[in-house]
Symmetry: D3
Amino acid sequence: MASALEKAGILVEALPYIKKFYGKTVVIKYGGHAMVDCALKKAVLTDVVLMKYVGMRPVIVHGGGPEITAMLKKLGIESRFIGGLRVTDDETMEIVEMVLVGKINKEIVSMLNAFGGRAVGLSGKDAGLLQAARKLGRARRPDGTVEMVDIGHVGEITRVDPDIASTLIDQGYIPVISPVAVGADGESYNINADYVAGELAVALGAEKLVILTDVEGILADRRDRDSLISVIHAPEIPDLVARGVIEGGMIPKVECCTRALSGGVGTTHILDGRVAHSILLEVFTDKGIGTMVVG
Amino acid sequence: MASALEKAGILVEALPYIKKFYGKTVVIKYGGHAMVDCALKKAVLTDVVLMKYVGMRPVIVHGGGPEITAMLKKLGIESRFIGGLRVTDDETMEIVEMVLVGKINKEIVSMLNAFGGRAVGLSGKDAGLLQAARKLGRARRPDGTVEMVDIGHVGEITRVDPDIASTLIDQGYIPVISPVAVGADGESYNINADYVAGELAVALGAEKLVILTDVEGILADRRDRDSLISVIHAPEIPDLVARGVIEGGMIPKVECCTRALSGGVGTTHILDGRVAHSILLEVFTDKGIGTMVVG
Amino acid sequence: MASALEKAGILVEALPYIKKFYGKTVVIKYGGHAMVDCALKKAVLTDVVLMKYVGMRPVIVHGGGPEITAMLKKLGIESRFIGGLRVTDDETMEIVEMVLVGKINKEIVSMLNAFGGRAVGLSGKDAGLLQAARKLGRARRPDGTVEMVDIGHVGEITRVDPDIASTLIDQGYIPVISPVAVGADGESYNINADYVAGELAVALGAEKLVILTDVEGILADRRDRDSLISVIHAPEIPDLVARGVIEGGMIPKVECCTRALSGGVGTTHILDGRVAHSILLEVFTDKGIGTMVVG
Amino acid sequence: MASALEKAGILVEALPYIKKFYGKTVVIKYGGHAMVDCALKKAVLTDVVLMKYVGMRPVIVHGGGPEITAMLKKLGIESRFIGGLRVTDDETMEIVEMVLVGKINKEIVSMLNAFGGRAVGLSGKDAGLLQAARKLGRARRPDGTVEMVDIGHVGEITRVDPDIASTLIDQGYIPVISPVAVGADGESYNINADYVAGELAVALGAEKLVILTDVEGILADRRDRDSLISVIHAPEIPDLVARGVIEGGMIPKVECCTRALSGGVGTTHILDGRVAHSILLEVFTDKGIGTMVVG
Amino acid sequence: MASALEKAGILVEALPYIKKFYGKTVVIKYGGHAMVDCALKKAVLTDVVLMKYVGMRPVIVHGGGPEITAMLKKLGIESRFIGGLRVTDDETMEIVEMVLVGKINKEIVSMLNAFGGRAVGLSGKDAGLLQAARKLGRARRPDGTVEMVDIGHVGEITRVDPDIASTLIDQGYIPVISPVAVGADGESYNINADYVAGELAVALGAEKLVILTDVEGILADRRDRDSLISVIHAPEIPDLVARGVIEGGMIPKVECCTRALSGGVGTTHILDGRVAHSILLEVFTDKGIGTMVVG
Amino acid sequence: MASALEKAGILVEALPYIKKFYGKTVVIKYGGHAMVDCALKKAVLTDVVLMKYVGMRPVIVHGGGPEITAMLKKLGIESRFIGGLRVTDDETMEIVEMVLVGKINKEIVSMLNAFGGRAVGLSGKDAGLLQAARKLGRARRPDGTVEMVDIGHVGEITRVDPDIASTLIDQGYIPVISPVAVGADGESYNINADYVAGELAVALGAEKLVILTDVEGILADRRDRDSLISVIHAPEIPDLVARGVIEGGMIPKVECCTRALSGGVGTTHILDGRVAHSILLEVFTDKGIGTMVVG
């Protein structure tokens, strides 16, 4: 009995957080390790279904990761990267889209449905959800100068029409969105999922943007896991970048956060996706985990 | 961290129960010790608010208990009982109604609102929610025979018009109902709160009827607290009554349950209101607690 | 036949007034003699039901009056007044609330329902309708100076959340409101019903505020009942107060009217509640009765 | 004051009738003297607007009468009647329709609007409200036998599509309907307005059908105005016809009533349209006037 | 087969135009030759039904023309004109209204219904759609000066209450409107149908106003049918009038267009009603026909 | 002009068909040559958008065809067929799903959106649209007997939950559905698209099921293209199969049709997808094309 009572107590502890986020939209960028490890996958998607049932309006934007590389490799297509972006020719784009929309998205949708959610997968192409334009890559010349070069089907968002996502949310569905868009030129474009999550959070008037990563959050000292910075205020960011505290792949993530904040999103979070139920811990406890970026 | 993770795990464990009762109406007869003890009161009403937030539609019917007796005593009005029912003359009825509707109901409403619910108190008189007729008391004559005698403003339900309760529930409010009704004769009647809860559960198409009592449930052997009968099927009841397992004040409670079941209510529960969060434990765990009566 | 024809004629005469107030909210402060006398009670509440049926949206706010005093007396609780306000300790407040919410409110609701209305009683505590803060009393010291003193559970309104009242009105119910509120401190407060009526009229966007009193209205010469002032414009009030034409208990009533007017209420009325059907006469005839205060 | 109070009393007396017919549809066949006399016209249409404002759903079906004959005469078109029905050739039909739809209907609509209603005129042609087939006339041959002969654009109803009328009623409008229909053959047909009223009452699920006539109602003894039969039960009718109590133009009116009753209409009434406010007297008094035909 | 394929191709060609006007309101002034010639009548009204089915919201305002004159002649009423406007005494007005509302309107409604539309005829009197004031005629004195004289029931629009029209459109009906209005004086007024169409287009927020005439449109050289001006910009109009290119009956039509444009209507069109399906050609082809007046 | 007029005439000719199918659901199985040829693709999808705009509710179910085989080949996965069904191991299923959902579906969606539709791609996995169970293949043993063998992820439909499709249709979207489902076992299954189309037509209460094929329809004499059978009544089918008129791949298509008919679908059609705009010709002309199967 004791144990049951403790359980009840914990449910009751969650009540203030449930009230706080009741009816609020939360956009989750789902990627990295949490998408590979089976137990983590289950943990993340259960969290999302739970959020739905306690009255939140979760939206998932997923990335691609290792499955794309694996499929390209199987097909003998070599990947080249410029400025951290994959050079994406027609053949590669076809594979990227198939893996994102036809494989990863469907796995997520199936698991959510198995856990009791009512998930619907969307590509940015569906009902014109995302429109994109070609993005150039920053190639570094041997002399150290930077040249902008065409890297193919890599896009940046030019327009978000959130109607289909809103409609589905309002009808009780959980939208699961692949970061693929169509250009005004009719071409397909692959877009960084962090950016898609950030722009959707703005377009949907989200309360929270959660980006799952494979690090603890932002560390004051990269070598010291205990130096996690819990809260960063947007104005501090330039200094943190200058000092190298925020660097590499974290820079665009933080950029998404600040854009989302300036677009009206309440709070943004960079969480450690390697920790089971990290979303739940962030949403349902006072301490939160990872790094919160606020306006 | 460990502890936080455990908490997350417990929330996740609740998910199947949340799904199961999502959108379902649960009528709770609130009375006895759980209405007197401050900590229990808080526990019960937090449970109700939590139920609301995770998508259920809770309705509270409260009893009166010691506060009525205390007020009558203060006023020097002596209470006489016939067949277990208080003889309720005009003066007594006035006090009974004032205490139920003007004191107890309002305390419950205020606490629910303080915990984040949006509660609205109702008397059975409001919008014709409950209509009643005079109920006679069973007086035992010296010779052992039973005589039906007028015991005043004690009523039994003749009609339920659940519109006002449904309207409030649909608009997101938690109705808190006092067991007072008006008769076709224009008189006020006090009604047993167990019966009110049972009839309302039927009228509202409830999934669950929960009756809080001051005992563990129904015990196979009254002297042995470990002999709790977890599940009783309606057809077994006559035999249990005949054998004295169900007796005294438990008989009308079980009768309410069977009436509710035959009126379409899914399951009915007799819970120990002295255990904190007993409703939560019943709803959110597999084992349940107390005695469940099913059809 | 003649008589029937005359009746028809009178119904037809009412048409312009029915059209004028169709769909309009009218808040009625119900108190004084009209709440004590049986025939008057019936007349007032029939008027309210009639208003409902011809398309108006009536709301009743009731006072307490003699029944509170009677109950306190029965309980041997002595009443002390400071600056015209009852010193309301915890015990007194409990009684005040029980009488208002559990007795008077329910009698009004029952009568309205018996006359064919669909009335629902509300306390200011229900769904956070009224929030209050402690109000100090003006005690006059022996030396004639005034001191503000704590007089207990006497409150003034700090916030009105009219949602529950609007919801009920929109669904066709007549809300009957007791002037009791909860404070941010969790305490119960008794509030002057005139003020409650005035603030609700503003919050509900009412067309009319009607205050029933035990006088003819405002008399130019208090000793001359024929000196009734039919219309007062808000700017004239300070002068009328200075000249003693408006004095005593009439001052707060007039203050409620001016506040309501400045909050957007169309017209406000101080009517003689001792005249049967005074509300009807005000609403359905050109001459009106009592004193109308306009902006 | 006395007089004002009496007026209030009369309004209050109307309350039970208002409650009784709240939300109920009442179809009124408007014709005869009440359509010619200016004061009566005003009385009838004020009654209808009043009915609307006190929550009923009135529908008017009007006849033609003297204005058609006058216009035909002006144009030098002679009218011939067979079996009581006007032989209606193409030219006559054109005039009949213009007078009904373009003159009488519009006068009624304008007056209702002037009195504060929101009236919309409809012909049976609008949105396919009424479909008709050619009706033959019963010509009596010199030898006394009866022959069915073509009398032109005289129709009987074959189908009612009440959608447009219901839509308008639901949106708060008062439909005013001219008894003209289109045939499957594309031709225009004039239909007896009593029949239109009866069929519409059925199609709209009306509570009441009121037929205004130029007699007191059905008299037991035609020569004795005091012999009015207040209530006739449908089964008594054949006998009353056989005995000549119901005869001539009253026969089809009574037939409309019985058809309406068997189609689910609550009560049907044959009223004296020469009495001002006869509809109001019927609806708002206990005694009623004229003859009521019930099932 | 070839031919069927060509047909399919033409349907496909229409798609961009269907998309362009989907959900848009188009007000059509229907008059002149297109109302007289049987084949043209059929063509215009089929076009309107087609517009409805492909998602537009057409509204028809019809004129009167020869039928009024014919009926007046039949009745021996002579028509006098002052400044191009018919002097309309009471008797004439009665005939005008009967012909417009009771004959022409009904013919249009019947044909639209026969073609599968759901049309409802309205006079400006219905539900207060149009309110008018008396318009004076410009009488030219023998000495060449102009005098404003009373010409009877000729009105100009003072208020449009488009509620009834919007309601009908929203419910899927096609409103067909006769240019008759009621004045504040209770009198009936005949109004120029072009003006009615223009004002309604503004009040209904129409995308297009189409005026059917009996000329090709506006010709640069009146004697040369090939000199049609396809597009006129509003600012060019005064010059075109000054040069006599726009003259006579075309001036008020152009004036209606410019008023409509300044009231927010997208484009306005003066079309040749003598060409079958001219509306369809205007709406469903790139070239358009007739003269388009734009802001 | 002549040509424009002819175009108008053709639009007008389409009106009866537009009326006939207004608001009706049409499920189109899209596959074969029409999915490969660029011009045909454009023709089919324009037809669908046109259907949407003229008020129908089209739904597309697409097949896979050559693209799946091409991708499998690229990856060096050999395809084996048993009883006409592809043996689908885990690796193959992954590719099948990726090509269907991530490539073909997205191309269709993008084209529909480019043509002005608002299309949303769905897999049978989305929101539990399709549930399937493993289907065995009919392997023919050397001795001619048939053995049922496991052929992997080939499924047959066990449950359709059309909610997500209905929701999207009601909100104005065109659902484009890939024939992939999830099993109760959590596995992915590839399902014959004809069957998916048939079952969806039933579940959505469709008026029409259209199956695009690569033949003219059903020919009485396979060698004579002019021997097309325009209409087949369901009861004739067994005889036609027995006589070999319906044979091979046509048998399951006809079976889908008869199942759909018995599930309430109005008419079913086997069309030649190699003819441009064949859907339009079927829907918008009297003759229709291909073979219609009716109940």
